[in-house]
């Protein structure tokens, strides 16, 4: 939805030229021409006021009117040129805004890219993330496919973390009542610059003279690899009781890996022949999640997407069945979120924990599917996928407060690390990221999360995310 709104602005700017040819129209119905109507009852008439002083002559003042001082007039003359410069500099902002209103660009956009009921349309997409850059694309969506709010989307995206990404999604809307929601998701992605730092929680190391086995040699260095993902995901969301959900997710996927043509290719640092899953892996993954979710807003006077009360507790586990005689393994995890509303606005303290692990040995699990930390959601302040191992755990504390109805700020601290096993979990060598987020939303839609983050290990991460950080629903789809 954020993508949708922010995308609108981009689209509007893009069709200014198109709109410039549109004829001017009045925003309201034309007034009835009645130029001969009499003056309203009780009002003075022209005859009654004839001879009275003209406006500006009513004060009765006979003293010399105030005049600007010479200093003020001189300063005004001096500032004339900067004033004109300001107007020139701001003209590129002013003109599109004028065109937006003058030619009803928002409505023109809807008229051009949506059906009359606005249930079928085309939405531009744009994202930005440090280390990946900008991506742009478009999404076709239908929000009421068969009359029961069934949704379907098809999108294509290019740039940023993608070379190409094509995705399709549909759900059952209200077709099956409010206790069951079926979702189907498929995607084809070519990701040219995914990041691999090696395995473990280590600090960055010098580049080795020859490629090393990442499972045996503790080298930590940012490398890039290409990944092609083809998968289809089916999800059954069942609402058992008011706030208790059972979610079954099933995924059939194929992934292929190769060295990147960008940055430091993975094969220059790591011996890819030793990497589990390299050069490709096929699998079927089935997961069951039990979710207790009472999160929401405190009252209608606070934006819906701004969670301020409630708790999320989610326990999930799934089996990854690998094809071609590769070993299977389990995935499991825990999500906890709790929101403490401190005051109106709202002001909120949010606590979050996410833990994830896999069974089997490191070499049983494709390297790209190991639990990971770093990026705009988990362990912010670190590069995306900075850490990976068999177990990942991250806790987060955040204080957020409203700046206006549509904008909130958040200060956060994320603490966590990856481990080689649950038995090895310790409080030592924790990684810590921190930062500031600005979040934008409407009463019903989350628009954008703009985050500036750093960590105790240095570096600055800037992300513009269109998914709220507390979103859990598309977890399987995103992994």
């Amino acid at each position: 939805m954020t993508v949708y709104e922010s995308g609108l602005k981009i689209a509007h700017a893009a069709i200014v030229l198109l709109a410039a040819t549109a004829p001017p129209v009045a925003a309201q119905p034309a007034p009835a021409p009645a130029p001969d109507a009499a003056a309203p009852r009780g009002e003075l008439t022209a005859t009654e006021v004839a001879g009275a002083p003209a406006p500006g002559e009513e004060s009765g003042r006979i003293d010399v009117p105030d005049r600007d001082s010479a200093a003020r007039r001189t300063a005004r003359a001096v500032l004339y040129v900067p004033k004109v410069l300001v107007e020139i500099v701001l003209a590129p902002f002013q003109l599109p805004i004028w065109a937006y209103d003058r030619y009803h660009l928002r409505d023109l956009y809807y008229r051009t890219f949506y059906n009359e009921d606005r249930t079928i349309g085309l939405v531009p997409i744009a994202t930005y993330e440090t280390d990946f850059g900008f991506s742009v694309g478009a999404r076709f969506l239908a929000t009421d496919v068969a009359g029961e709010n069934e949704q379907a989307t098809v999108s294509a995206e290019f740039g940023g973390s993608y070379h190409q990404a094509f995705q399709g999604y549909m759900n059952s809307g209200d077709r099956l009542g409010d206790h069951v929601l079926l979702e189907l998701y498929g995607e084809y992605q070519k990701r040219p610059r995914d990041i691999f730092y090696g395995i473990g929680n280590g600090d960055t190391t010098p580049r080795p003279p020859v490629p090393v086995d990442p499972y045996t040699t503790p080298v930590t260095l940012r490398t890039r690899f290409r990944q092609r993902i083809e998968r289809i995901v089916g999800v059954i969301n069942a609402r058992l009781f008011d706030d208790l959900y059972l979610v079954s997710s099933n995924e059939r996927g194929d992934r292929a890996y190769s060295p990147a043509h960008y940055g430091t290719p993975i094969n220059e640092v790591f011996d890819t022949a030793t990497l589990a899953g390299w050069p490709s892996t096929s699998y079927f993954y089935s997961e069951l999640a039990l979710r207790f979710d009472t999160r929401g807003r405190y009252n209608l006077f606070e934006p819906g997407p701004y969670l301020s009360v409630g708790t999320l507790a989610e326990l999930w586990g799934g089996r990854n069945l690998r094809f071609n005689d590769n070993p299977d393994y389990w995935r499991y995890g825990l999500n906890l979120q709790h929101f403490i509303r401190l005051g109106e606005g709202p002001r909120v303290v949010a606590l979050r924990f996410r833990g994830e692990g896999v069974s089997g040995s490191l070499t049983d699990v494709p390297f790209a599917q190991l639990p990971r930390l770093g990026g705009p959601r988990d362990l912010r302040g670190y590069t995306t996928d900075r850490f990976r191992d068999r177990v990942a755990a991250v806790g987060s504390a955040e204080y957020s407060w409203d700046l206006s109805y549509n904008v909130a700020a958040a200060l956060f601290v994320d603490v966590g690390r990856v481990y080689s096993s649950i038995e090895d979990m310790t409080y030592h060598d924790l990684r810590c990221g921190f930062g500031l987020s600005l979040r934008f939303f409407s009463e019903t839609s989350f628009w954008m999360d703009f985050t500036l983050a750093s960590s105790v290990d240095g570096g600055v991460q800037v992300t513009a995310s269109f998914d709220p950080v507390y979103l859990v629903r598309p977890r399987v789809r995103r992994r």
């Binding site: 500006g56 004033k83 409505d107 005051g343």
Partner: protein, 559 residues
């Protein structure tokens, strides 16, 4: 210290105390006060229609124009368009009503209405829809042939917008503003008959067929009221050729009668305290409209305030945003920065608002209206309110405080709210806010008004109303004194200052006798009101009437 030294010290001290203060330059002609201006001079050609672009307007008003205006170094300036008594003369902008005379309850109830409700004149012919607002609007003609605009409530907030529109329209009219001829109407869908050429108009101005089924669907979406009837606000189409909104800055260049920059007009700047009282937050350029009318062979432009449906806290509920009235919506960078740097720790004035869950009542209360000077309209782009100073706000306050509870109730009843508790609540809240506003401004500007000079023995006394006492705003006559000092035209003291107790009944006092300057008697009388915590002054200019030689008030200058 010797006695003579003490006397000398006392004299020097007294001389210092009595020395001439910094006398403002304002001097007035010895002439009757202007009560009306002629801005109805013939404008044979209609001025151009002004389009309104909301985003552009807000961008300019919030971002660009403040920057460029700062570089123009405008001096702080008191309002124009005032007469010698610091009041607004009648004009095409403003007609003095409750500010100068006692309106009857029925006058307030009737307000600007002239033709009577179309409810008694059905069926109504529907010509087209109105675009540009989320709520449904229809242009109709009643059985008499009078055109109205029907506006409906948002279905989630029944009665709120229609009631607020009519209530506030009547109160603003009684204050003196020109407002539209509006009625809350109840009717059934069958009362609406589509004209043969009825059209549904889209936002681009394109006309489409308007089948009955589509109209019925629109009506269903508005929500049906009690007894299966529909409720709407019928606003009589403003007569004349509509010219669009009124610019908030400068003048309408093609209207020769429009001679005072709007950001300097007292009637527009002084609307601040009135709109704050009514929480009329939607003060944008396009919620004013100019109309070019004919009057006895002349044509001129009249100025209206329109669209009050978001007043009385209704914008808070329809936008689900309790900040309206406390922060700008468009956006308020100051409030955002303040909240940002204080990490939201400081409690904001809009927090904790509440209103009873009664149909027709928005998020509107009196308890949070503690700082009438902190009230904000939805956008800072409307300059007259932004430029409004304490004298403007005082002017508005002395008008709004003249409403009696019965008059306010009459206006509220015109909103035809279905729940009697809504009438009680809105009346009580408006009375509470009215008194808060007046009390606040009467503590910031000397609340003396209606100055006259009356004979007293062989001399003359200066008489006036102390508005804080007249309206019993926490001020006690026993604790009030007036210190009088007189000066000649040049500002030199005449005689010695004297202090008087508030003596008259119901806040009306006379002090004197006055010592007038020789010649034409031009005398500046400084009247300082002294109450616990307050010492505020007004300069009253007095001179002898050349015809009768009787002294009279020719001007005042509030300090």
């Amino acid at each position: 210290m010797k006695s003579s030294q003490i006397q000398m010290f006392t004299l020097v001290l007294a001389a210092g105390c009595a020395s001439t203060p910094e006398m403002p330059p304002a001097r007035f002609a010895n002439a009757p006060v202007v009560e009306r201006v002629d801005d109805r001079r013939d404008v044979p050609k209609p001025p151009a229609e002004r389009p309104f672009f909301l985003s552009f307007y807000n961008y300019n008003g919030v971002v660009q124009r403040p920057l460029t205006r700062a570089m123009e170094l405008p001096p702080p300036q008191r309002a124009l368009g005032v007469n010698a008594l610091d009041d607004v003369p009648d004009s095409t902008w403003f007609t003095n009503r409750i500010g100068v005379r006692d309106l009857t309850v029925d006058e307030v109830r009737t307000g600007p209405n002239q033709v009577g409700s179309p409810e008694q004149h059905r069926p109504w012919t529907v010509h087209e829809n109105k675009t540009g607002a989320p709520e449904l609007g229809l242009k109709i003609t009643d059985a008499r042939g009078i055109d109205f605009l029907l506006k409906f409530d948002l279905p989630a907030y029944p009665e709120e917008q229609t009631a607020a529109h009519v209530i506030v329209g009547k109160l603003l009219w009684a204050c003196g503003y020109h407002t539209t001829d509006d009625y809350v109407v109840l009717f059934s869908p069958s009362d609406l008959v589509l004209a043969p050429d009825a059209a549904r108009i889209d936002v681009f101005g394109d006309k489409h067929p308007f089948p009955r089924a589509e109209l019925d669907e629109m009506l269903r979406d508005t929500g049906v009221g009690a007894g299966g009837r529909l409720r709407a606000m019928a606003s009589r189409w403003i007569p004349g050729k509509l010219l669009g909104g009124i610019p908030g800055e400068g003048v309408r260049e093609d209207d020769p009668n429009d001679r005072i920059p709007h950001e300097l007009r007292r009637d527009l700047r002084g609307a601040y305290s009135v709109t704050a009282w009514l929480d009329h937050v939607d003060m944008l350029e396009d919620n004013f409209v100019d109309t070019w009318i004919a009057d006895g062979g002349r044509h001129y432009v009249e100025h209206y305030m329109i669209d009050f449906g978001k007043s009385l806290g209704v914008m808070n509920t329809t936008q689900l945003n309790p900040r309206n009235g406390f922060e700008y919506f468009a956006p308020d960078f100051g409030a955002m920065a303040h909240s940002g740097v204080t990490f939201g720790i400081q409690r904001r004035p809009w927090e904790g608002q509440s209103a009873p869950p009664i149909i027709g009542v928005g998020l509107f209360d009196g308890a949070h209206f503690t700082n009438p000077d902190g009230w904000t309209p939805s956008s800072q782009a409307y300059l007259p309110l932004l430029f409004s100073d304490r004298f403007d706000k005082f002017w508005g306050a002395k008008i709004l405080i003249r409403f009696s509870p019965a008059q306010i109730r009459a206006a509220v009843e015109a909103g035809r709210l279905s729940d009697p508790r809504a009438v009680d609540y809105l009346t009580d809240t408006l009375v509470a806010r009215q008194r808060t506003s007046a009390r606040y401004w009467f503590e910031r500007v000397n609340p003396l008004d209606r100055f006259t000079v009356e004979p007293r023995g062989s001399g003359a006394a200066l008489c006036f109303d102390d508005l804080a006492l007249v309206h019993r705003l926490d001020a006690e006559a026993a604790a009030t004194q007036y210190r009088i000092a007189s000066y000649d035209r040049a500002g030199s003291p005449i005689g010695s200052p004297a202090t008087f107790r508030a003596s008259g009944a119901a806040g009306h006092s006379c002090v004197g006798p006055l010592t007038l300057a020789p010649g034409d008697g031009y005398t500046i009388v400084e009247v300082e009101t002294i109450r616990p915590g307050i010492a505020l002054s007004t300069l009253v200019h007095v001179a002898r009437d050349p015809k009768t030689s009787a002294p009279r008030v020719i001007g005042i200058w509030r300090l």
